[in-house]
Subunit: 153 residues, 2 copies
Amino acid sequence: MSGEDNLLKLVEVEAPDDQDYLLQDQVGFILRKAHQRHVSIFASHIGDLTPPQFAALAKLRDVGETSQNQLGTLIAMDAATVKGVIDRLKARGLVELSKHEVDKRRLLVDLTTEGRDAIDRLIPLAREITRETLAPLSAKEIATFTRLLAKLA
Amino acid sequence: MSGEDNLLKLVEVEAPDDQDYLLQDQVGFILRKAHQRHVSIFASHIGDLTPPQFAALAKLRDVGETSQNQLGTLIAMDAATVKGVIDRLKARGLVELSKHEVDKRRLLVDLTTEGRDAIDRLIPLAREITRETLAPLSAKEIATFTRLLAKLA
DNA sequence: GGAAATTCATTCGTATGCAAATGATATCAA
DNA sequence: TTGATATCATTTGCATACGAATGAATTTCC
């Protein structure tokens, strides 16, 4: 290798390196991984319901009968997604559907007795899921993290 | 309303209320929403590539040719998911596949020239996506949040 | 050397997640 | 009142995401 070649190589190696984009440091990538980890913890405690299905039941428990669309808004799901979730909960007898008497566009959703029993039973497990998800953090860190995460969401 | 009724109502209102499970305060629910917001910001800047597709290209840029499975490990995707992502990138001519000469099980993936050009062009947009995702936080909050999020992921 | 265990990749089935198009109904406004 | 607009729900198409099953190739270990 000639002297000129060595010089050239040094220049290349020390170039500003626009490559300093590290995927593993980007917030979007880490958010995706943190979300994956949570879903995995969820599944290990509640195997027969997905987080979106649980969210639908938990929110219905809070607000009672609502329209499908309104429920979607409350649990951050678009109309197409919430339909699938509700369809599967209905197929399992956990929610029931009825038509709105006045506004014929609306499809009302409510918990069945089985649905209410199920969500009441699952709430303690859900608390444990939250606890385990946050286990890597101290109490003070949990407070900080939750506050900042909420600002992003 | 009788005095007994008032008494009864007070008792109910002050009951321990195991209902104090608020979906919107649970870390899993907020994580899901924060992730949704990020994906939406991503799509507004990079419309013709999804975050997983971008992740695959960005990681290939870092590490060069690897096996499909190894790439999946690096970007936190299981084998079934990474296959679909790579298939779509291949169909668009951004990556190319070849068989490993020695280990016949392995399918090697690498960027094409077009793929390298594309990812080099997109990196600046990705920086902006990260910036916009974190925009609700101050510089100090960003440092704290990123550190804690990484502990969870 | 050869059986057992492991790894790599593929396929199938199910469940989000969202954009876009469609149809039915309701509301608003000229 | 009626025509434009908005809302509610559904459907289709595409893209993750992952468990489970399968088959091929490799590695381990006796």
